[in-house]
């Protein structure tokens, strides 16, 4: 008996085609009904808040994690047919860029009124959800607390030659930090400052995680980074030899910059209603608490616990900060990219 091979192969092929087709259809159908959040936050850290929102609002959230720039580029590319509903970014920079390009929808909530105006978008096209502070961390094995630098501008001194590190401009807070300096001290000063830093051997690392690991591991004595990396390092290993400095706190100093973390509603979002409820949830104490604690940020809304207070973290109003609005900082970011883009690349 000779088996009918012909039939068998055709059947296999047909079955295969059917499976592929079905799977594509299922995958597409599955995506349509869910709230898509474009997030540049660390997934592990933002997940508690997102999971609580899923439970409270009864929606399924799809988290698409990528760099804020890629997300903004995607949102622009998808303008005609948005695939994302909510954007959760880093500092106000990209939110401002997207506002100018008309990619964002306004969102209002009575809760927003409790946040200081300098952290908000004038027309409510984006929402400040938490905030972070640009600090210095240092390795306590290599630097005694009393000898730690007191200012960003100390780092050009020969003492710190080859000992300081910072994240690349891939981290928006690096851009925001230089934008704040540019706003307070002007272009000439900032150009010279960055050039001096580089000449003094400032190491540009890929991201803030590398900076905190490099400092904790003793590769570099100093890291210019965000306050919560100090807390993350202590969470990883409570005995880590790391200390934190809020620089430039003197009466004549510029102060330590604070950046609001922004979220926004994407214009033309397919699930706009669910997206609004998600944003509202993230501002309410139950949601905002999870964001703040999950990411070790500082709260912008009153009445929330400040993570890491016992480890030297200061809340809004407990330290001196530059008299700059988030929009002012954001507006200078493109200029910072242009001026220092290549200097601040690994």
């Amino acid at each position: 008996m000779i088996p009918n091979r012909n039939f068998r192969y055709r059947a296999t092929l047909r079955a295969l085609a059917a499976v592929v087709g079905l799977a594509v259809a299922l995958a597409e159908a599955a995506f349509a009904a869910e709230l898509v959040v474009y997030s540049s936050r660390k997934e592990e850290l933002i997940r508690p808040a997102i999971q609580a929102a899923e439970k409270a609002l009864g929606v399924k959230v799809i988290l698409y994690t990528a760099g804020a720039g890629e997300l903004a580029r995607r949102i622009e590319l998808e303008k005609a047919n948005p695939r994302g509903d909510v954007f959760i970014g880093t500092t106000a920079g990209f939110a401002e860029l997207m506002r100018e390009k008309g990619l964002l929808d306004t969102f209002t909530s009575p809760l927003l009124n409790e946040i200081p105006a300098e952290f908000r978008a004038p027309d409510n096209t984006w929402v400040p959800i938490t905030a972070r502070v640009r600090v210095l961390v240092y390795n306590t094995n290599l630097v005694k607390p009393q000898e730690a630098p007191k200012s960003y501008f100390d780092l050009v001194a020969p003492r710190w030659k080859g000992k300081a590190s910072v994240a690349s401009m891939g981290e928006r807070t690096t851009v925001g930090w230089l934008a704040a300096i540019l706003a307070v001290r002007g272009e000439d000063f900032t150009r010279k400052y960055v050039a001096d830093l580089k000449a003094n051997g400032l190491k540009v690392l890929k991201n803030n995680t590398e900076v905190r690991k490099a400092v904790a591991g003793g590769e570099y004595a100093i890291g210019i980074t965000n306050h919560y990396y100090y807390l993350l390092q202590l969470q990883d290993d409570a005995k880590s030899p790391v200390g934190i400095v809020y620089p430039d706190q003197g009466p004549a100093d510029m102060g330590t910059p604070v950046f609001s973390i922004t979220a926004a509603l994407i214009k033309g979002a397919k699930n706009a209603e669910a997206a609004r409820s998600l944003l509202e949830f993230l501002l309410k104490p139950e949601g905002n608490r999870l964001l703040v604690e999950g990411e070790f940020e500082i709260p912008l809304l009153p009445g929330l616990h400040l993570p890491g207070a016992e480890k030297g973290i200061k809340g809004l109003g407990q330290f001196r900060r530059p008299a700059l609005s988030q929009v002012q900082i954001a507006e200078l970011e493109p200029k910072v990219e242009r001026l220092f883009g290549s200097a601040m690349t690994p």
Binding site: F31, G67, R172, T209, G217, E219, T345, P346
Partner: protein, 537 residues
């Protein structure tokens, strides 16, 4: 013998166009989109904007990296191949089995492992610091930089050279070496003046494969802090909304890669001169004598660094998760694992199907070289560049594809049809066209002939090619990172996100272990099945 099956010129050019047009759209569309975005404001503008990025030193650095990787891979691959095939070394069969396996470990996972090992306070440096009496936490040796990246890359790509060299040695006619010995040359002289030159096509092919891999790599250089064109492009993609600079750089990178590839094709165009003699006796094994111990140590070290160390370190790190944690984590990651397997399996199936169609039509003289050349260009496009180009091109030109997993499969088509074609063509070359003619003469149409004769005969070869492409799809990172639609993360993407978020942590190690297992299982299966062999012709 002229072309075997009747074809009028007209029908062939239609068939050519039918395949060339979609292939050209798929391959040239994204590149064209990037060229348009990169040069939309003129070359002058692009040059000004990229002026201070240090493109030239960067190109030099990548060239250095690729060269160092190729040299290191050759230093590992060629002697191992010789030992496995020609020596009487105890355990040479183990080498023959194990040496291809590092291909199952994606190099970026190797980079994570060596990052852990070489961390400033990590096991290696702690040991060295202790031994040298330096303060704890001192970094004695660093894995970061060009040399470290070359080391890691070569550990996981040397099997390309090993496999080609071993196959070459196995097929080489031993008479030539015996003749050389007869003229009074020493063993070393014979190796360098006869064996090695005979292996040249295999070594060039493997070497250029390794070179191109290192040249276009994104994962390893990114983790090991080597600034390359791909990392600059990726940083621009992640950190800016700008199209011009990343697009412009992508075009430059693609052009350089293409010229390397063109050189490869030119060199390889001369064809093989390995003496394949159907059923020659195998060459006599060379006694290792006093070299036995150093040779065994060499093999042991290479395989340890490329297999034992990565798996060991990952397992150790993953074991820091409690079983409960591991289970909870795994169940959260299951959808991504399934995504990966599903997309890699569909991708591999489609890639192989297309490669089979192209390979068959070309072998039977019914299709020109155009299509395969196009896919060779696709193969040369670095994943990062392809991702950026495809996202832009598909959203603009084919929005219904954009945003669905289909776009990933299309990306895999562009990237992997060329390696698939190599396997498929090798399988097809063993089928004489007269077999198909015979079936036609006995009342089968063209399709029935394909399914009843051609397909069953190439199937063993196809299984191998399928597993290879499955592995390539499964571990693809650079393009997937940009192409993935929301909610459709793959394992490498999850590993990447975890590593980038918080550094090489137990969860990332655990995921990496899962990926290595998923990739290694079909590979092992293939090796085992391949040993049993299928008695065909």
């Amino acid at each position: 013998m002229p072309s075997p099956i009747a074809q009028t010129v007209r029908s062939r050019s239609f068939r050519d166009l039918g395949l060339v047009l979609p292939a050209a759209t798929l391959v040239l569309g994204p590149v064209g989109f990037l060229a348009w975005m990169g040069l939309s404001r003129g070359i002058g503008d692009l040059l000004i904007r990229t002026d201070d990025l240090g493109i030239l030193p960067t190109v030099g650095r990548v060239f250095l990296l690729a060269t160092a990787t190729t040299l290191l891979a050759a230093i590992m691959g060629v002697p191992l191949a010789w030992l496995a095939v020609r020596s009487d070394l105890p355990g040479r069969r183990f080498i023959r089995w194990l040496a291809p396996l590092p291909l199952a470990i994606p190099p970026y996972i190797g980079a994570i492992v060596y990052q852990i090992l070489f961390a400033p306070a990590g096991p290696l440096n702690a040991l060295l610091a202790h031994a040298l009496g330096l303060p704890p936490g001192t970094r004695v040796v660093s894995i970061y930089g060009v040399l470290g990246a070359a080391w890691v890359l070569s550990l996981f790509v040397f099997p390309y050279i090993f496999l080609l060299a071993a196959a070459g040695l196995e097929r080489m006619n031993p008479t030539l070496e015996e003749v050389a010995r007869g003229t009074g040359m020493s063993r070393w002289a014979v190796f360098f003046r006869v064996t090695l030159p005979m292996l040249r096509p295999a070594l060039l092919g493997g070497g250029l494969m390794v070179f191109l891999y290192a040249w276009a790599d994104f994962g390893v250089v990114s983790l090991l802090r080597v600034r390359t064109l791909t990392t600059i492009i990726y940083d621009y993609i992640q950190g800016t909304m700008d199209w011009a600079v990343p697009s412009g750089l992508s075009v430059i990178l693609t052009l350089i890669t293409l010229s390397v590839l063109a050189a490869q094709l030119r060199i390889m165009g001369g064809g093989t001169y390995i003496q394949v003699s159907g059923a020659t006796r195998p060459a006599a094994l060379v006694g290792m004598g006093g070299w036995r111990l150093p040779a065994m140590l060499f093999g042991f070290l290479v395989l340890s660094f490329a297999l034992g160390v990565p798996v060991g370190v990952l397992a150790y790190h993953a074991s820091r998760l409690s079983i409960v944690e591991a289970w909870a984590f795994l169940s959260r990651q299951t959808p991504f694992i399934l995504n990966s397997i599903w997309i890699a399996a569909s991708g591999a199936t489609l890639v192989i199907a297309l490669a089979l169609a192209i390979g068959w039509l070309q072998a039977r003289g019914r299709l020109g070289r155009g299509v395969s050349t196009l896919f060779q260009i696709g193969y040369a496009i670095p994943g990062t560049v392809l991702g950026l180009g495809m996202v832009g091109f598909f959203q603009t030109a084919l929005p219904w594809v954009y945003g669905s997993p289909v776009v990933l499969i299309l990306g895999y088509l562009v990237l992997f049809v060329t390696p698939a074609l190599q396997g498929v063509c090798a399988a097809l070359a063993q089928i004489s066209a007269s077999l198909e003619d015979a079936a036609r003469g006995m009342g089968r149409g063209a399709l029935a002939t394909f399914w009843e004769v051609t397909f069953p005969l190439v199937r063993p070869g196809l299984v191998g090619a399928w597993v290879l492409v499955f592995i390539l799809c499964m571990r693809e990172l650079a393009a997937t990172l940009i192409l993935r639609p929301p909610g459709f993360d793959t394992l490498p993407v999850r590993i990447w996100i975890h590593t980038m978020d918080v550094g090489p942590v137990p969860t990332a190690a655990f995921l990496a272990l899962v990926l290595v297992a998923v990739v290694a299982l079909p590979w092992l299966g293939l090796v085992l099945v391949g040993r049993r062999g299928v008695p065909l012709g």
